[in-house]
């Protein structure tokens, strides 16, 4: 029983790290611009596809003998290059989808985000066709048996890389000048630009960072489940959005924790109940949490001063 529990704990950690990485993107953008980037789930998908392209290219180079690359280095390079490339997708989405709508009602921006998501999916479908493509196996799977709990090296890698990225983001936001500008902007995006902090640059950078994290999540996901399809971002995107809300609007720590929590809920619900009930129970739990804690775990109560 205990091994069963730990087995699922490992799976939940892996599953939760995907949610957490994506949820971070939602939460950061919300922190700065007070809106949710509904195209974010599809940026996750685009990141996975870019990762596929990069990985294929690198393995082709390596096998052609042009450069001698060990497998782990191919993976690291794939992640880094894809994160870099995907951040431009994020910036483009900000530039053409959200910047013209900065003064518009936020619901309009939400609609634009949804539409950009559809365009990204369709463009992918048009470019690569409707077939599912399989991600090249970059690392050989090794299974360790720790007291009856089976852990693969992939799972360890995924959890470690995710946590490293989250710590890195945290350090970036806490330590650097840009991170400070982002935090200031999250505090007040009317006054802070007047102090000489360039709103557009910060907004673009936030999108770039969020998209890079989503790309990392995409590649890690592809390493674990190496089948890609153009609609893979939808379910993940919405669930990560739920996690971002659950964590509290704009709270980076909250998004991380809620991402993991969502992973745990889903895995453990599937462990106890038939898997068809997974969504039903997971969303019911979320609904209950939000009814009793409407501002999420770390969100600022938004009308605390007023009883209305």
């Amino acid at each position: 029983m205990m091994t069963f529990f730990f087995q699922n704990l490992v799976n939940a950690l892996q599953w939760g790290s995907f949610y957490a990485l994506i949820a971070l993107g939602y939460s950061m953008v919300y922190g700065i611009l007070m809106l949710f980037n509904f195209a974010h789930g599809d940026i996750f998908m685009v990141g996975a596809y870019i990762g596929f392209g990069v990985a294929t290219g690198l393995t082709a180079l390596a096998s052609a003998g042009a450069v001698a690359l060990p497998h782990w280095l191919v993976l690291v390079l794939t992640i880094l290059i894809s994160m870099f490339l995907t951040s431009f997708v994020g910036m483009a989405v900000e530039r053409f989808g959200y910047r013209p709508l900065r003064d518009a009602p936020r619901a309009s921006a939400a609609i634009t985000g949804l539409m950009i998501g559809i365009i990204l999916e369709t463009a992918n479908l048009a470019l690569l066709g409707a077939r599912r493509i399989s991600f090249p196996p970059l690392i050989r799977s090794v299974t360790y048996d720790i007291g009856g709990v089976y852990v693969t090296n992939k799972k360890i890698m995924i959890v470690v890389v995710s946590i490293a990225l989250m710590v890195g983001l945290h350090q970036f936001v806490r330590r650097t000048k840009w991170g400070m500008a982002m935090r200031a902007m999250a505090f007040d995006f009317v006054v802070v630009p007047l102090m000489g902090v360039p709103l557009n640059t910060i907004a673009a950078m936030t999108f770039a960072l969020g998209s890079a994290l989503a790309a990392a999540a995409g590649i890690l996901f592809a390493v674990a489940y190496p089948v890609l399809d153009p609609y893979m971002g939808i379910v993940f995107g919405w669930k990560a959005f739920v996690a971002a809300i659950l964590g509290g609007r704009g709270s980076v720590l909250g998004a991380t924790l809620a991402g993991f929590l969502l992973g745990f809920i889903e895995i453990f619900v599937a462990m106890i109940f038939p898997s068809t009930l997974r969504d039903f129970i997971a969303y019911s739990i979320i609904l209950l949490i939000l009814v009793f804690r409407p501002h999420g775990f770390f969100g600022e109560p938004y009308s605390a001063r007023l009883r209305l």
């Binding site: 007023l306 009883r307 209305l308």
Partner: protein
């Protein structure tokens, strides 16, 4: 018996005591001013009386009945109406609709009537429209009736708030700095309106005004209630 009687009212925001042991008695038809420096808690007193905040301690009696703990709309429907210091108008509604909206609690046609446009609904809508136009004329806003609120001048917006507050048929009117940001001409007009309202409708008026000079010199107030 006093129309509005507040005893020992205190309110804390977190650890900050914003209002401390406040007392007030207003008789029907009386005008009373509330003065004090910025941040003294004048608007908080209004918010406590109108039910936006619930006082930490103390009692508020209106016509002899306690109104502590009632929802703001219930308090408003009993006859305490107010204006806001920073205008709180509805951006996408016409001036006329603002005044009609304040008749909400007096509507007698119910949801079914509204859905099917019953005769009763149409008659009542016509009646409140007439009443609303009357009030708009009274505050000198008749010509703006069909305008959207953001399109009319600032002082006219203040008068819309006034007409809107009157449309709830209050027994006491709480005015939160009714002349803030007005030029002398507009100020004189607003004061004329307040006097007219006081005289013709016989309301009690409780107003916040921190231009001490005005409160004293123009002999508006029967009692000045400082802090």
């Amino acid at each position: 018996m006093a129309l509005l009687k507040v005893t020992d009212m205190s309110h804390d925001f977190g650890g900050l005591r914003a209002v401390n042991n406040y007392h007030l008695e207003i008789e029907s038809g009386e005008i009373c001013g509330l003065i004090g420096p910025n941040g003294a808690g004048k608007t908080t007193i209004f918010n406590l009386i109108t039910g936006i905040h619930r006082p930490t301690e103390g009692a508020i009696l209106f016509e002899g009945q306690s109104i502590v703990g009632l929802q703001p709309y219930e308090i408003a429907a009993r006859g305490i109406s107010r204006t806001f210091q920073n205008l709180r108008l509805w951006r996408h509604m016409t001036v006329l609709d603002h005044v009609k909206m304040a008749r909400y609690s007096k509507l007698g046609y119910g949801l079914v009537g509204a859905l099917f446009g019953s005769g009763r609904c149409r008659r009542q809508e016509a009646a409140i429209e007439e009443k609303a136009r009357g009030l708009l004329d009274m505050v000198g806003n008749g010509r703006f009736a069909q305008q959207m609120v953001p399109n009319i001048p600032y002082s006219a917006q203040r008068r819309v708030e006034m007409a809107r507050a009157l449309a709830t048929e209050p027994k006491i009117l709480l005015l939160d700095e009714p002349t803030a940001g007005m030029n002398p001409e507009e100020l004189a007009q607003m004061m004329r309106i307040i006097r007219t309202v006081h005289r013709t409708l016989g309301l009690a008026i409780f107003l916040i005004e921190h231009r001490l000079k005005m409160v004293m010199e123009r002999r508006w107030c029967d009692a000045v209630d400082g802090k």
